[in-house]
């Protein structure tokens, strides 16, 4: 975002700005922010490289005096991170697939096919945004234990993460609002050419909706990756746990330095993901939040 024109002046008038004072403020802010936000991430990586005695030494060291890179290997083996990582990926991409298929279809139906009672359904969906998530955890857990009518127990299956992730009113809202902006004439001409609703969706609506699909996809993945309590409850079997839940469960049994190394390993994929997709992530954040 460039701010060259005079029309985009802010609190302080750029033309009257004292250049040296601005430089000083800029440098101070950049250094302060770097220390505050990268500092802990730096410690996360380097504290995992300290030896066992150095990790609990008084006073602590700012960098590992003796690099013990073996911690990372140790953490990988002892906490079975490969399995936790694969589980988390499987849950995250499964949730993504379910959300993309079911939420896109639902939003398309609510926006363009407009069935009877569609608005009532939409209102009921949006109403769930008002319910605090933590209040619902207990009855949700009991529902997963014994699914109504079918009497299935979804505990320790990926379904316990995939299916509840579809009940995301925010996705429906974002997608529907985007689909609403697709011009009706386009869909009408497709219908005249003999395209059914499914073909219209895949051939016309979806290609136009790439930005919003991107935003929804990113948040679907990030939500599963960051979630803690639900996977902890829904996948109690240690062989089925996610990274967050698995590392937490084993946190009392391993030395500090190995634990920090494990935490660093589990943070790495999200950091890389963020650095690659930062533009879409940050624009998606403001697209969703300014809903008023």
């Amino acid at each position: 975002m460039s701010r060259t024109g005079n029309d985009s002046r802010t609190l302080v008038n750029a033309a009257q700005l004292n250049r040296t004072r601005y430089r000083v403020v800029l440098v101070v802010v950049v250094l302060l922010f770097t220390a505050a936000f990268v500092g802990p991430v730096y410690l996360l990586v380097t504290d995992g490289l300290k030896g066992t005695t150095e990790a609990i030494r008084t006073p602590p060291t700012f960098y590992p005096h003796q690099v013990a890179a073996g911690n990372y290997r140790d953490a990988w083996d002892r906490l079975d991170i490969a399995r936790l990582l694969l589980n988390t990926l499987w849950y995250a991409f499964g949730a993504l697939a379910f959300q993309l298929v079911l939420d896109v279809a639902a939003a398309y139906s609510l926006s363009k096919l407009r069935p009877v009672l569609g608005n009532a359904v939409l209102a009921l969906m949006l109403a769930t945004l008002m319910i605090p998530a933590m209040v619902l955890v207990v009855p949700q857990y009991l529902t997963v234990l014994d699914l109504p009518l079918l009497h299935l127990n979804l505990l320790d299956t990926p379904w316990a993460i995939w299916l509840p992730s579809v009940a995301n009113a925010f996705n429906i809202y974002l997608l529907k609002r985007f689909f609403d902006s697709v011009p009706k004439e386009l869909l009408d001409s497709a219908a005249i050419d003999g395209a059914g609703p499914l073909r219209t969706l895949t051939a016309i609506v979806l290609p136009m909706s790439r930005p919003i699909i991107g935003v929804v996809s990113i948040f679907a993945l990030v939500n599963v990756w960051k979630d803690f309590l639900w996977p902890l409850l829904a996948e109690p079997d240690p062989a089925k746990q996610t990274l967050n839940a698995g590392i937490y469960s084993l946190s009392l049994g391993v030395p500090e330095n190995v634990l920090i190394a494990a935490a660093a390993i589990s943070a790495l994929p999200t950091v890389l993901f963020f650095l690659v997709f930062q533009r879409s992530i940050m624009s998606g954040l403001t697209a969703g939040s300014l809903k008023g």
């Binding site: 002046r9 802010t10 096919l113 605090p132 933590m134 609703p197 954040l285 008023g292």
Partner: protein
């Protein structure tokens, strides 16, 4: 009825069937994992489960929950967390956004920095903070000692534990609020600042009379959302203080009590009753917000 009249009816029927077909998957998921649990939450608050049999309990669960010696301390801790989190977590992102909006360089870099902690898995960040808070070998006390400032037991001191939780929580979460404020600040027309300056308003007065009123609606919305979110705090005290109690129950929150009823004591009735109380309190905040917001818009 003639066949000409039947055709549109059957076409409308078919159109509706297709539309509901597209809708059904998501509706079933909402029904199972949002709508039904919500109804169940309310019903179970008034039910008792004993030896696999369910019976009506009236207000028994509610009475049991209120008479629990942890009940009032948990609300006090939650209120303390909310107040501290607002003091820090509400003011800081706004101040940071205002400063960021003034800078003409390194904007992309700063935005990435502020949002980076939001992307970290919470357990990773919290385990690190727990390590840094350690009064013996943690870095925080060491740095404070180097600066000749008073050190603290952090999580192991009943007075400081909640404050320590708030610091970690703010660090982890402030990125989203900051970027939202930044977007709102960029929508303020420059002429307003120009005019205020011509009227002789200094820097602080411009913030007070232009920046804050212009971002007022987003600020009040975020305030409400943050109150609702922070009242539900769970993960931070849970990971930082080994299961969420802390020294002398100093970090026991309402949601932690719910968790304990449900998953440590299998007392689902009490868990739901306390959940319902929390829901009512949060709904109260939302109602107050809606009223104030309406009055402001008028």
């Amino acid at each position: 009825m003639t066949s000409a009249a039947i055709r549109p009816v059957s076409r409308a029927l078919r159109r509706n069937l297709t539309a509901h077909g597209f809708l059904i998957g998501a509706v079933l998921c909402f029904a199972c994992f949002s709508w039904y649990p919500m109804v169940r939450e309310v019903i179970m608050s008034f039910q008792r489960q004993k030896a696999g049999r369910t019976s009506w309990a009236g207000l028994h669960n509610l009475r049991q929950v209120v008479n629990d010696p942890s009940f009032w301390p948990a609300w006090r801790n939650t209120a303390e967390f909310t107040a501290l989190a607002l003091l820090l977590g509400f003011a800081l992102p706004f101040a940071v956004a205002v400063v960021m909006n003034e800078l003409r360089h390194a904007r992309g870099y700063l935005r990435v920095l502020v949002y980076l902690p939001v992307m970290l898995p919470p357990v990773s960040a919290l385990l690190l903070f727990k390590y840094l808070y350690n009064p013996e070998y943690g870095l925080f006390d060491h740095v404070l000692a180097l600066l000749h400032l008073p050190t603290s037991g952090w999580l192991q001191s009943p007075d400081m534990a909640m404050f320590a939780v708030v610091i970690a929580s703010t660090w982890m979460n402030m990125g989203s609020a900051t970027l939202i404020y930044l977007a709102a600040l960029q929508g303020i027309p420059g002429e307003l600042y120009e005019a205020a300056e011509l009227d002789g308003a200094g820097l602080l007065r411009r913030v007070w009379h232009v920046t804050i009123p212009q971002t007022g609606s987003i600020l009040s919305l975020m305030l409400m959302l943050q109150i609702v979110a922070t009242m539900q705090v769970f993960v931070e005290p849970f990971v930082l203080t080994n299961g969420g109690q802390g020294v002398d129950g100093s970090t026991t929150t309402v949601v932690y009590l719910i968790y304990q009823y449900a998953f440590n004591f299998s007392n689902y009735g009490a868990a739901c009753a306390l959940g319902l109380l929390l829901l009512l309190v949060l709904a109260g905040f939302s109602a107050v917000y809606v009223r104030i917001d309406r009055r402001l818009e008028r």
